[in-house]
Symmetry: C2
Subunit: 333 residues, 2 copies
């Protein structure tokens, strides 16, 4: 398996092995140590029986702010170049950056659509950030972000995925998977902008582990799968109507594409019904509350079971922040 | 805090410190090591902010069969005296004993009300046990158990709580709480028959830890609280209509009462609305799927917050097997 995102001496992507676009991954890991919560590894015989595979669930649902995004956000906040942080996110990254900025002692503004659920807006505010509501019919969040950056040169706009500090932060999860004994043959990770999967690939290569990394993407938002097939960065024509809100990104980030196009074994495209089945299975068989994007990796396993024969699989459950009404519709409550 | 259930040399309850009614707790712990899953310790700032206390959640929702009962059942199964096991349970203990008996290579029969949910009956069967359905309007489960024991002298009836092997098995959770560094000032545990709480008290005393153990009981099923107040074993007049099905037991077990009446700091009686609030809080603030009985300990904290000032609290979430429809009603989905 010759899939190495960052061979020593390969400076196209990484400079040296531990330098990712000028960011020293070791320094990010050292700064995050003890500040991010370790993932929780759980098994469920009932789930394994149903999927017919050797599966360890790797839960990020108990990470601070309820998803892996806190790793990304803290990496960016602790190595910020601006005196203030700003990002556009109505989801997990907004809440994660709000908390991370507060930990780093930096003011933070999160641009959110005015139509966002009240509870999400309040959550970001309660974590100490200012919320900037935009009418997305009039101005896109990206445009608003550009306006804000222009108006305040000391504010740094943070991408939820296309940033070496974000990828290095996410790679701390990979370090938990790959450090120590050789436990897994294959790691399944969800793909939206590619921040998490590229962090896992990065950690694998830096630590010299041999596990394959396989991405999981909604079929309705399969820009990453198409990008890998076509050998160029493809985008979704419009916001994909997938249940997996974490995968409604326009395309992979540039840095993420560079890492994933060389380091990923492949991408499984999961149907919406399979995502729902995965949410349900996690809930009923493993007592895990996962959001749809968090269940994507398990959905990949359900979608293409023949792909994973007799492999020891780590299946990342990337977040648990799901609206109760949506979850209850899915689990049939 | 002079609360010791089992002082060395105190043979009323324990013979010597490590002997509980003839059962060597060390041997049970050694037999269960590596066969029960360690509890998962998680924290949630949002939950701690809402309850205003320093709380660590101790999750048994990922234990085998989804609740702490597997510790109890495996203790009984590995030290069984009969060639076959039989128990009466429509809940977690039935499923746990089915799996534990199968692990111990023993046939197992679970007596369940004929009106039990199909999914519960199928779950017990899928774990390898025979299910004996009784019409509880005609014959009680206890009567049926007595009939079965009479008909088959080689079958051993196992109590879900009033058994030293069960208490010793549950005490493995206590050993995880109290071994190593002194982390907790107070452990909150749900009380039904008293099997779990007495196991925690037993482990605390055997390991020489100093934490207080506080029980949590539904106000609607407060036989244990009344027993402690009146200094004698009290029973509920009929099956209490509490949401917490694990606490619908008629009374504490005899052995459990002996341990708890001397080793417990007290019992908090939680109202049903508080139990629902606890289930909701675990779900929304901590991404934890808990059954109502599993949320009892947190409910105690919500019910009587003034009782726990500036204490480091371990709050046991004893199980996660809740009917989706019930959970969704509670979380408002």
């Amino acid at each position: 398996m010759e899939q190495r995102a960052c061979r020593p001496g390969d400076d196209r992507v990484t400079g040296d092995g531990w330098l990712l676009e000028g960011v020293d991954v070791r320094r990010v890991w050292a700064a995050l140590a003890g500040r991010v919560r370790p993932a929780v590894f759980v098994r469920s015989e009932r789930l394994e029986r149903e999927v017919g595979a050797d599966v360890t669930l790797v839960l990020e649902v108990h990470q601070r702010t309820g998803s892996f995004k806190y790793r990304a956000a803290l990496g960016a906040a602790l190595f910020a170049r601006g005196r203030r942080l700003v990002t556009a996110s109505s989801g997990n990254f907004g809440a994660a950056l709000a908390l991370a900025a507060s930990e780093a002692g930096l003011p933070c503004m999160v641009v959110m659509p005015a139509a966002s659920a009240r509870v999400k807006i309040d959550a970001v505010r309660s974590l100490g950030a200012t919320v900037d509501l935009v009418d997305t019919a009039v101005v896109s969040r990206a445009e608003r972000l550009a306006q804000l950056s222009l108006a305040d040169p000391a504010a740094e706009a943070i991408s939820p995925y296309d940033d070496p500090r974000v990828v290095a932060g996410n790679a701390t999860l990979g370090s938990e998977l790959f450090e120590g004994e050789d436990r897994f043959d294959c790691v399944l990770a969800p793909i939206g902008g590619g921040g998490l999967a590229s962090g896992i690939v990065l950690a694998r290569d830096l630590l010299g582990a041999r596990a394959a990394v396989v991405g999981a993407e909604p079929l309705l938002a399969n820009d990453a799968a198409r990008s890998l097939r076509e050998g160029r960065l493809c985008a979704n024509p419009c916001e994909p109507p997938t249940l997996c809100d974490g995968a409604r990104t326009p395309s992979l980030g540039r840095l993420n594409y560079a890492i994933l196009s060389r380091g990923l074994e492949g991408i499984v495209e999961a149907e919406e019904a399979t995502v729902e089945r995965a949410v349900r299975l996690l809930f009923t068989a493993a007592n895990v509350k996962a959001e749809p994007t968090g269940a994507l990796a398990l959905a990949a396993l359900l979608q293409d079971p023949g792909r994973f024969p007799s492999r020891r699989i780590a299946c990342i459950v990337s977040g648990g922040n799901v609206d109760p009404a949506l979850l209850c519709r899915i689990v049939g409550g």
